[in-house]
């Protein structure tokens, strides 16, 4: 760990929340995807966060271990005008709820803001340490 370890730790948190924002944006962007019933639908993506470092010691922050893909079964809808509709007129759309995605995005945004606030506080603390003895 470098001289200013907490800055790196806050940076890893910022990177993690940015990944969360990216997956949420991807989910919203793919919300209206339409695929034929013979193919899988778009699966809702969720990042999996794991801590970095040895247990029992001060860690090195957080990392995105993997991007979990949700249910690709989706929802079968009746849409005979779609060019990918099957013989019965059905298509497969992703099971992504806009409401829960927006809530996830607000959570990721607050996560980002909390990490930047912790970063700024650590910087202020380091700078105030330099004024010791003056």
């Amino acid at each position: 760990m470098s001289l200013f370890g907490s800055l790196d730790i806050s940076g890893s948190g910022i990177d993690a929340s940015q990944a969360w924002l990216n997956t949420t944006a991807g989910n919203i962007a793919n919300m209206n995807d339409v695929s034929s019933t013979s193919q899988a639908a778009y699966g809702e993506q969720t990042p999996v966060f794991t801590p970095v470092g040895v247990a029992g010691q001060v860690g090195d922050g957080v990392t995105v271990a993997s991007i979990q893909e949700g249910d690709t079964t989706g929802i079968v809808q009746f849409d005979p005008t779609s060019p990918v509709a099957d013989a019965q007129g059905n298509v497969r759309v992703p099971d992504v709820q806009l409401g829960s995605q927006m809530v996830d995005m607000i959570q990721a945004q607050f996560d980002f803001q909390a990490n930047t606030a912790s970063f700024a506080d650590a910087k202020t603390a380091y700078q105030s340490a330099l004024t010791l003895g003056t």
């Binding site: 800055l7 990177d15 970063f119 910087k123």
Partner: protein, 96 residues
């Protein structure tokens, strides 16, 4: 009968204060030079991260974090240099 006078023992060697000081941490200019080298390295890392962020190859947050670390490194080194120079000036102004 008078006991013979023992020969004079040689004085114990004085403690090598200079060598011990050099071994424990080096001189002031050497440590400041090392610190400035590391500051230079941090600033090089920061400028690399900034150019990567500007060209879209890195993230802006990484560049800002590297720049903040380089800035803090510089502030620490400057504070230490100022303290050392102040101590030197105090000794130079000593009145006898």
């Amino acid at each position: 009968m008078i006991a013979p006078i023992p020969p004079i023992q040689p004085l114990p060697a004085p403690p090598a204060s200079g060598a011990a000081a050099a071994g424990s941490g080096g001189d002031f200019s050497g440590s400041i030079t090392n610190a400035l080298d590391q500051v230079q390295q941090a600033q090089n890392t920061a400028s690399t991260a900034e150019s990567q962020a500007a060209t879209g190859q890195g993230s802006v947050t990484d560049a800002m974090i590297q720049a903040t670390q380089a800035s803090l490194d510089t502030q620490v080194t400057v504070a230490l240099v100022n303290k050392g120079v102040a101590a030197f000036t105090d000794i130079m102004n000593m009145q006898f």
